[in-house]
Every structure is written in structure tokens, then in C-alpha cells.
């Protein structure tokens, strides 16, 4: 589905990604974990073409939708309009099935997206990305600023999308515990490099991850 090989991205003289290789199989849920500034977001931006790599290759089979950090909604347009605009590149623009995925949005479909709670906004952001009928969805910092209960609900919905529709998920998270619980495979980033990767179960047990990331993230999950 996605194959990244030896990808290097520079911002001026600074190396943001250093020879990163990574794979996402069809229908797989993959987590990218690591501290702030480790290069996770840069990787997503390279995948969606926002930044240009200095070297290396990116292969994507199928359609990728990118849910950016901070959700980036159209705050003064309605929820319904936000969803419909997600389908700008495709012909089918009826958001009915997205309301089935996120029934909580039906009630607020006429409201301005900017007036919603953080959790609802994240649902709109994911829903808008779904409207482009992706095969893989890349979500940047899904849990940032959201209450644990809301995060758990979003996680459930992602799992359902993955199980029922075969949607592959690339989840970028500072909250490593959440990401490792939700996904099957994970890559650990540190200052632009992949320092570990493998099954989430193994990584969760490894002392490296526990020491480096669970300390800071543990107050977000309970």
C-alpha cells in the first residue's frame, strides 16, 4: 500500500528525516510514535506531497487522505459543508455513510464546525478525509487535547473502519500507549530516524519505549 525507502527530507540545512524506510500493508494499522520534532509529521507531509523529499522514494498504491495536526477544519462552514468539501476530488459527494460512521455528527450537521467540541471536530476532520474515499488514512496527533473518554471512542471508530471497510491507518501519536494499543505495527522515531520497529505488542514490552515515551504520555490515558 505504502512503501517508503531511504527517505530524506531537509528544511534548509536541518535534516528532518534521515533515510527513513517504512511500509504500510493493505488494511494494516501502523503507528508512528516518538517525541515532538522526531519527524513524524514531516513524514506525513512528504506522503501527501506538502513537502518535497531531498532523496529516497515514496510509493503509494491507492488513495491517501491526510488528517492534519490541529484538524484544520473550515471553521465558519457547516459540518455538512466540511464533509462535502472533502469529496472535492471525487464524484460521489453524499456524506450519508460518514454520518453512519460518526452518528454523533448528525445532530450538529448544520452547525459551524468551529463551534464544536474538540472531539466532534476531530470526527469532522476524519470524516472529511473519509469523503475522498481513501484506501489509507494518515492521522496526525489524533488524541492531542482530547479527553481520554473521547480518545477511546475515536479509537473504537477507527478500529471499526479498519475492520469493516479494510481502511489502512497510519497513526501519528505522541501518546505512545494509545497508538500501540490501537495498531498492530509501530515505528519509533527519534530525531529524524527510525530507531525501532516491529509489532506493537513487542514494542510495548520493550524497555526502550516504556522508558522514553510512557512517562510523558501516561497522564493522557487512564
Amino acid at each position: 500500500m505504502i512503501a517508503v525507502a531511504d527517505l530524506t527530507v531537509c528544511y534548509g540545512a536541518a535534516v528532518a528525516l534521515d533515510r527513513v524506510s517504512l511500509q504500510v500493508a493493505r488494511g494494516e494499522m501502523v503507528a508512528l510514535v516518538g517525541a515532538n520534532g522526531a519527524g513524524k509529521t514531516t513524514l506525513l507531509n512528504a506522503l501527501s506531497g506538502v513537502v518535497r523529499p531531498a532523496s529516497g522514494s515514496i510509493r503509494i498504491n491507492g488513495r491517501l487522505a491526510h488528517v492534519p495536526e490541529g484538524r484544520q477544519l473550515f471553521p465558519d462552514l457547516s459540518v455538512d459543508d466540511n464533509l462535502r468539501l472533502g469529496a472535492f476530488r471525487v464524484r460521489e459527494r453524499d456524506p450519508g455513510w460518514v454520518y453512519e460512521v460518526f452518528p454523533g455528527l448528525v445532530r450538529v450537521k448544520k452547525q459551524h464546525a468551529g463551534s464544536l467540541s474538540g472531539g466532534q471536530q476531530q470526527m469532522v476532520a476524519i470524516g472529511r478525509a473519509l469523503m475522498s474515499r481513501p484506501d489509507v488514512i494518515a492521522i496526525d496527533e489524533m488524541s492531542l487535547g482530547l479527553a481520554p473518554l473521547v480518545v477511546r471512542e475515536l479509537g473504537r471508530q477507527l478500529r471499526a473502519l479498519n475492520a469493516e471497510r479494510g481502511l489502512a491507518v497510519l497513526l501519528v501519536e505522541q501518546n505512545a500507549r494509545l497508538a500501540l494499543k490501537l495498531c498492530t505495527t509501530a515505528y519509533v522515531f527519534e530525531t529524524g530516524r527510525v530507531v525501532a520497529h516491529g509489532s506493537c505488542e513487542e514494542l510495548a514490552r520493550s524497555a526502550l519505549i516504556a522508558g522514553a515515551y510512557f512517562g510523558a504520555a501516561s497522564e493522557d490515558v487512564s
Binding site: L73, F74, L77, D81, L85, F88, S132
Partner: protein, 286 residues
């Protein structure tokens, strides 16, 4: 009919023209963050073109329509100069529109000369109860209402209108879902050109235009847009009508030459009041 009522009607008709120019300014500013200093030029081009086309024997209706399309074309060209190169800042684009406006002078003088031009609009008048209404005034108001209704429908009901609003709301997100913000900006400039053109063909029968009438058109349109808070095109109608009536009263009861000073004073007062809170143009862009 009392002086007051005739000033009022004249003010409303002229205010409709200001509102059309203002709505063009607002649409361009919302989508591109650029204050289009060439906005007055579109009205001048359309007024000149309509007078020439009528002189060539084209009937009313088609002549005005072609003139408006020409104005829309000049709007598109202005947009190409101002925003087509990616990475151009709104400040650089603003200066580019000023350049286009001045270049427009040269082109207009080359084609139409430096003398004012006009053409006759709808002749005659009709009575509504006690009121005697010039047909041209009625035409201006009807066309303006129809245009604003169409704009409202376009932005509220059509997918293209929503895509334009999306660029205004969050350009970064718009490009993420696949909307070309530059292309939408060019559409906005073309629309702004057409709206300025409609104002031009409607107002030229009331007051002849010359190549430098664009300053008056811009100042009045800008003031109306500022009165409307640079927010929604529909608000520009209220802003334009308020300004038109205020100017007509000043011209009627004080002195005609004060009226554009009034527009400037009003715009300045509002801008200063807004800037006291935060930079006015940025505030309006939020």
C-alpha cells in the same frame, strides 16, 4: 416630491453601484486576502466599453452584457498579474493591483481618449403613488437586488460557492482537500471584475466616467466594504446603500464636492476604530 425624497432615491440608486463594487472587493479579499486597488478600473472599463458598443450600433442589453464580460476579463487579467505566481504575499499582490490600475489608465486613454464618456440609460420615469421614479434608478435597484440574490444563492447553495468560501475560511485545509487556492483566487478576481463592470454600466448613464473615475469608484466601494466589515457580500448592500444615501444628503443639503470626502472620512474613521482593537484587514479576514 420633496427634496428629501428625491435625494433619498438618488442616494439609494448610487449606493447600489457602490454596493456592487464593494461586493467585488469583498469576494476578492475573502478568497485571496488582497485589497484590490484596481477594483474601480473594472467599472470604468465597462462604462467605456458599453458607450463604444452602443455607438457601434449594438442594442442596449447585449452592449452592456459584453461590457460586463470585458470587465470580468480584465478582472481575471488583474488576478493573473497579482496572485498567479505562487508564494506572492498579499502585500506584494496589493501593490501589483495598484500597478495594474495605473497601467489601465494608459490602455484606456489609448483606446477611448481622455475625455469623459457617457450613454443614455433607460429614459423616462413612472409614478409610484406620490413618487416619481426615473426608470434608470428603478433598473439599477432591480439589477442590484437580482445580483445580490444570485450571489447569496451561489455562496450558500452551490458546491463551487462553498469551495470559494473554503479558501476564505482556511486556505491550507482547502489545498489539502484538493482545491487549488490560486485558481479559486482567479475566479474571485473574475467575479470582482464582473461585479465592478455591472456597477459601471449601471452608473455611467447617471454620471459620465473618465479614465480616472476609478479613484471615486474605489474609494466609495472600499468605504462601503469597510462599512460592511469586509465580511459577507450581502453586507456590502447595506454598506453601499448607507453610504450612497449619506452622500446624496451631503450633496443635496451641503455641497456636492464634499460627498467623496465623506466616504473617505467614514472609511478612515471605521478603519481607525478597528485598528484600535486589532489590525482591521486581518480582523475582517478571520
Amino acid at each position: 416630491m420633496s427634496d428629501f425624497v428625491s435625494y433619498l432615491i438618488h442616494g439609494l440608486a448610487v449606493g447600489c453601484g457602490f454596493a456592487l463594487i464593494a461586493s467585488g472587493l469583498i469576494i476578492i479579499h475573502r478568497v485571496t486576502r488582497v485589497v484590490n486597488l484596481a477594483q474601480g478600473m473594472f467599472a470604468v472599463v465597462a462604462g467605456f466599453a458599453a458607450s463604444s458598443l452602443l455607438g457601434l450600433g449594438l442594442p442596449h442589453g447585449p452592449a452592456e452584457l459584453v461590457a460586463v464580460l470585458l470587465a470580468a476579463g480584465s478582472g481575471l487579467l488583474t488576478g493573473v498579474v497579482a496572485i498567479a505566481k505562487s508564494g506572492t504575499t498579499p502585500q506584494a499582490s496589493l501593490i501589483a493591483t495598484l500597478g495594474v490600475g495605473i497601467f489601465g489608465y494608459a490602455v484606456e486613454i489609448l483606446i477611448w481618449g481622455d475625455q469623459p464618456r457617457s450613454f443614455s440609460g433607460l429614459a423616462g420615469s413612472f409614478d409610484v403613488g406620490e413618487l416619481t421614479l426615473h426608470k434608470q434608478y428603478a433598473l439599477i435597484m432591480l439589477v442590484t437586488l437580482a445580483v445580490f440574490a444570485a450571489l447569496e444563492l451561489f455562496f450558500e447553495r452551490t458546491y463551487s460557492g462553498k469551495a470559494l468560501s473554503a479558501c476564505a475560511s482556511n486556505p491550507h485545509a482547502a489545498s489539502l482537500v484538493g482545491i487549488s487556492v490560486t485558481r479559486m483566487g482567479l475566479w474571485a478576481f473574475a467575479m470582482g471584475g464582473g461585479l465592478g463592470g455591472i456597477a459601471g454600466v449601471l452608473l455611467t448613464p447617471l454620471r459620465p466616467v473618465s479614465y480616472d473615475s476609478d479613484v471615486l469608484f474605489f474609494v466609495n466601494g472600499f468605504s462601503a466594504a469597510i462599512l460592511a466589515g469586509l465580511k459577507r457580500p450581502a453586507f456590502a448592500l447595506a454598506g453601499g446603500l448607507t453610504l450612497g444615501v449619506a452622500e446624496a444628503m451631503v450633496a443635496g443639503y451641503a455641497k456636492a464636492s464634499y460627498q467623496s470626502s465623506l466616504a473617505l472620512l467614514l472609511a478612515l474613521a471605521i478603519l481607525i476604530a478597528q485598528a484600535a482593537r486589532r489590525p482591521a484587514l486581518h480582523a475582517a479576514g478571520d
